[in-house]
Symmetry: C2
Subunit: 343 residues, 2 copies
DNA sequence: CCAAGCTACTCAAACGTTTGCGCAGAGAGT
DNA sequence: ACTCTCTGCGCAAACGTTTGAGTAGCTTGG
């Protein structure tokens, strides 16, 4: 049982030709005549030959493998993204080596090492929340392993990345609320350390300015994205002298926490929420944000993978000449939550 | 830039020793003396040596890689499972090669081929909904690549698998409803082709019998898990001469579809739902099934990965003697949905 | 008739690592 | 002084494939 796999040499021996001829025949090399080519392919088929990829990988020094490091697979955003990455890689005959950092900087560093040892051709990374230093990524470029960041991009120069444009997304969100008649619009933002937070803030301010409304800093509060912290932040917002009638929150979870809190408070006034992510669960729910900024995780993953594959295929030069850096921001889009009318 | 990676031979050359000695020193082989071992390790460190895994893979004919094929990564169940698989593999120094079949039989077959060519050491599979033949998996065992199925297991003999026990889960669910006073309990099951459906049906019947209630076939209807089909199925249930007061559904989605439909119908009577999966989104919702059978995707993935790793490490014998087959069913568990009281 | 240019193939090296075997030298036991 | 054993290391093959360089036989043009 489980006889040794058929090799190229086997075929060569049987046909009384050399291994190189077999190899070239199988790869449709022009210097092999039609008759031999056919004979080889036929026999290969017959013997159930399958090329030993590990040998090819070793020989070529390539693995046709994309490493992917992301914080948490079970997050809806990332599972969509990885799904897209896998699809895109598959189409180009690449495979995906997966790892999750669980938002831990140390583990992320280990994973980078591991990926390097596995000789992945390139790496896609969404950095861990806690990651503060980024030399472990620098080392990769020394080994000529390109890295494309997506979604959570580190605040450093000269990197390839794909991220969604949170500024315009936020502007859209605020405009939407303004159009619905709101004037006192609050914001529950995320931790200031996150780039995504400052973009939201910037978008918020920008939207207010453009509409000739003055920016009231007391209307922008922050939370650490937990339920408890959201509640605190929301209460802080309520205590503002302005009567907030609408709130933009950092993401759908924050909105849901706040909504739950609002229900428990039995506020008689209506407060409308707009958030980010457009989680699939939203469409099953009754009390939700009225709109959410969709960040298109699938498209983001896809784009990031495509860029990486591009980098890999155009890596002929590699003679030090500094190439350009792909820095793509994909536009986010406000999605209204059309809910069926409940009686 | 991007100088050639340091090899074992480099180190050997510098220290005027042989490559084999270096290799053994780095692998802590007992036949290497302390002094040389240290010298080698020090220099390796200094030169930033990193073993070329592709060479090792090739040499050993192993890749320390687990292939995973599942239907859809963005499904909550599977993303939890893959998360567990990745964690488990990581602990044992394996990596995960990921692929999704998108519930397409053809693609699944291609992926199996690809995994084989990549020489994964073993495979974890949750089969596509449409898969009807299973020879592509047989071929793997000829190549001595063990396969462990999980969650969606094919109806064939002599396989390793991990699945959750839907029979006891269903019994629990029905008992729960009985305890709450319901007598006319309906069931919206999935397509009869799914093994999971027949288990649910079996559990349902079993629970009724044990409670000396007669089994009324008109109370068990099926749907194909889409919203439209769920509505049809539910209406069918309503048209039964028995007045159904509670329903067990195939999964949370079906429950949510049905609940939405119930709201639209403005039924004055209360109908309680129990389902399976215990989706995370449930806890953000207002109108939900009152309980859900948790299938522990993380544990299932973990167990499956552990079994596969066991198979791999105990693969010394491989001398045809038929080993036993791991066939693990993990107990599911009914989780009540404690919701905060709404006024 | 010879150089030149094909076509279709072979040879052998190379990729980096592991590992069975061999062997030198040292120390110990007889 | 002899064998024996042990320690520590080197030699070389092996894993399967690709690929540059070489070549034999043929045709073609001058």
């Amino acid at each position: 049982m489980s006889k040794k796999p058929v090799t190229i040499k086997e075929i060569a021996r049987v046909l009384h030709i050399s291994a190189s001829t077999v190899s070239r025949a199988l790869n449709d090399h022009p210097s092999i005549g039609q008759p031999t080519r056919l004979k080889v392919k036929r026999l290969a088929q017959e013997l159930n030959y399958e090329r030993n990829q590990t040998a090819v990988f070793f020989q070529k020094g390539k693995t046709y493998t994309l490493g992917v490091i992301l914080p948490e697979l079970s997050e809806a955003f990332f599972s969509s993204a990885i799904s897209a990455i896998e699809d895109t890689a598959y189409k180009r005959n690449y495979t995906v080596l997966l790892a999750q950092s669980h938002d831990d900087e140390q583990k992320e560093k280990q994973l980078v090492e591991k990926m390097k040892n596995h000789r992945v051709d390139g790496l896609l990374v969404s950095v861990a929340k806690t990651t503060s230093s980024f030399e472990h990524f620098d080392r990769l470029s020394q080994y000529n392993i390109p890295v494309v960041f997506f979604d959570r991009i580190p605040p450093i120069q000269n990197i390839h990345y794909v991220a969604s444009n949170m500024i315009t997304g936020t502007i859209e969100a605020v405009n939407y609320l303004l159009k619905r008649g709101h004037r006192a619009i609050g914001m529950i933002n995320g931790p200031a350390t996150l780039h995504a937070s400052s973009e939201r803030r910037e978008g918020y301010i920008c939207a207010m300015m453009k509409n000739r409304l003055k920016f009231d800093p007391s209307l922008v509060v922050t939370c650490d994205l937990t339920e408890q912290s959201t509640i605190t932040a929301f209460d802080e917002l309520l205590s503002s002298r302005r009567k907030v009638t609408a709130v933009v929150t950092f993401n759908d979870y924050v909105s849901l926490y706040a909504l739950k809190h609002v229900r428990n408070l039995h506020l008689n006034k209506e407060i409308e929420f707009v958030s980010y992510a457009n989680l699939p669960l939203i469409k099953y729910m009754d009390s939700t944000p009225i709109a959410s900024v969709e960040q298109f995780p699938y498209q983001q993953g896809q784009k990031a993978a495509e860029i990486l594959l591009d980098l890999l295929s155009s890596k002929g030069r590699e003679r030090g000449e500094q190439q350009a850096f792909y820095q793509v921001t994909i536009e986010s889009q406000l999605i209204e939550n059309e809910k069926q009318q409940l009686s």
